[in-house]
């Protein structure tokens, strides 16, 4: 661990929606911290508020109560410091892969040749060299997600937020991308906060697994995952960790 101060602090964050159907408590008193360089997974069933929490972390949503601090400063709005990858890749369909990756750089007024150089570099990082000039509709789902990761990384974010990014992909592509994101994380050492509803995915990826439960959404516990990488999903240690996580989920559900 490098710095002692956590890069992200979530303090007592709550989110309440007022609708015609009544008030919905999406999140209740969520608190945890993330250390710089950590790969942390938010795990929970649908409706437990994990995506809401992620959007609050990004600054896209304002919490009703509590606050999120990044490097000690309160998060108020979306910023390239908090890059995000969505479940549906959300690539700009009218831009090629390279142009998508360049978007953040354009916002920062990076000069053109430099932009193109950086974009190419990032596309190579995510393993898509040669596909720079393809449009999203010409790429497979998995490839689009890689571009989405490259696009978020273009701004050298302090934190990369990923909202069930591999959920819409088939099992094989998912496994491949899990390996890829681990590799990218190891190469860039970006802090990653990864939302998932799959226990195995959380155990494959995360250093720490924050277990959440729903209605109202809240954090139940955090489980440390010290399995050495690369992680073998068939090993008995992996199975043991999964069992620990499952029982935590079970426990969360019952409270």
């Amino acid at each position: 661990m490098q710095s002692s101060r956590p890069i992200v602090e979530v303090r007592d964050v709550g989110k309440i929606w007022d609708s015609r159907a009544g008030t919905i408590i999406a999140l209740k008193s969520a608190s945890f911290s993330v250390t710089r360089g950590e790969f942390i997974c938010l795990l929970g069933p649908s409706g437990c508020g994990k995506s809401t929490l992620l959007e609050i972390l990004a600054g896209l949503l304002e919490p009703t109560t509590g606050e999120v601090l990044m490097d000690g400063e309160r998060v108020r709005e979306a910023s390239p410091e908090r890059g995000m990858v969505f479940q549906s890749h959300a690539l700009f369909p009218w831009r090629t892969a390279r142009e998508n990756v360049e978007f953040g750089l354009e916002m920062r007024r990076v000069e053109r040749s430099e932009r193109q150089r950086l974009a190419k570099q990032l596309i190579a990082l995510v393993g898509l060299s040669g596909f720079e000039e393809s449009l999203p509709r010409e790429l497979s789902g998995g490839m689009c997600q890689r571009v989405a990761v490259a696009r978020a990384l273009a701004n050298s974010p302090k934190v990369l937020l990923m909202d069930e990014p591999f959920g819409a992909l088939d099992a094989q592509t998912r496994e491949e991308l899990q390996r890829e994101i681990t590799r990218i994380w190891q190469e860039t050492r970006t802090t990653i906060i990864f939302v998932t509803h799959s226990v195995s995915e959380a155990v494959i990826l995360g250093d720490r697994i924050v277990v959440m439960t729903g209605r109202p959404g809240r954090i139940h516990s955090a489980i440390s995952n010290t399995l050495p990488r690369p992680r073998d999903a068939t090993s008995p240690e992996f199975g043991a960790t999964m069992r620990t996580v499952y029982s935590a989920l079970e426990g969360a559900r019952r409270t």
Partner: protein, 258 residues
């Protein structure tokens, strides 16, 4: 790809051939007076005459000018109004009911009052073409902006886009296909409306030419002019569709976002 274009041209050609055949057959069977139904050949000759007539070219030019002017003003007024309707709930509540109401007052209905207001002056014609194109452009622009996927906007925000950049670099490109469809429709409405206006109250223009020809019992010229009118309308539509196909190839998949 190319073979389907050849098929398209082929069917167009077949259409003309069959049309001519049926036409000639009708003349042979019903023996109408030439003034009622001229033969295809006479019509073709009239077409050639039109092609060589400066006056006819001037008429076509005037009609096109009237359409272009009204269309241009419709773009300049319609797109901003569409943007305002999409972005400001206040603007929408104030203006939308009125605009929707005017949908039922078709451009044709404005022709008499425009002739009363503007007489034979060009501004009257441009008013009609503007009116015809304005609403569809404004509404299509609004619709295009409103169907922009929110996730794209969120993504752009996390990439550092401010509100001006959001409009220019996310909303407008995402809405562009629908906006351009609006332009295509607006142009064709403007074309139809100017013809109508010229039938009623004009001393020049291809619509006027057609009416004049019929008045003087030159049905061959009238039919030839109709062919020209159809061809121009067709080409305008085609030009836009080609533009749409080229520039909006990315739009083809309806679920660009899975």
């Amino acid at each position: 790809m190319r073979s389907s274009r050849i098929v398209q041209h082929f069917t167009g050609f077949t259409g003309f051939v069959v049309l001519f055949v049926v036409w000639e057959a009708a003349i042979a069977v019903f023996r109408p007076a030439p003034v009622v139904l001229p033969s295809p050949w006479h019509t073709f000759e009239a077409l050639l005459w039109i092609a060589h007539s400066d006056k006819a070219w001037a008429d076509v030019g005037i009609s096109l000018f009237r359409v272009a002017a009204g269309f241009a003003v419709a773009i300049v007024t319609g797109v901003p109004v569409g943007i305002a309707l999409a972005r400001s709930a206040f603007f929408r509540h104030v203006l939308a009911p009125t605009l929707e109401g005017f949908r039922f007052v078709i451009p044709f209905a404005w022709i008499p009052i425009a002739s009363l207001w503007f007489g034979l002056h060009e501004s009257g014609k441009v008013f009609i073409t503007w009116y015809a194109a304005f609403f569809v452009i404004a509404f299509q622009t609004e619709a295009g902006l409103r169907q922009v996927d929110e996730r794209l906007v969120k993504a752009a925000k996390t990439l550092g886009a401010g509100s001006r950049e959001l409009l220019r670099k996310v909303y407008v490109p995402a809405a562009a296909p629908m906006i351009v469809t609006g332009l295509r429709l607006g142009l064709s409405f403007a074309w139809i409306s100017i013809l109508a206006a010229e039938l009623v109250n004009a001393k020049a223009g291809i619509g006027y030419f057609t009416m004049n020809a019929a008045d003087f019992f030159r049905s061959d010229q009238a039919f030839a002019a109709m062919g020209v009118i159809g061809a121009i309308g067709f080409l305008m539509d085609r030009a836009f569709r080609v533009l749409e196909r080229r520039k909006f190839a990315w739009h083809r998949t309806t679920d660009a976002i899975q």
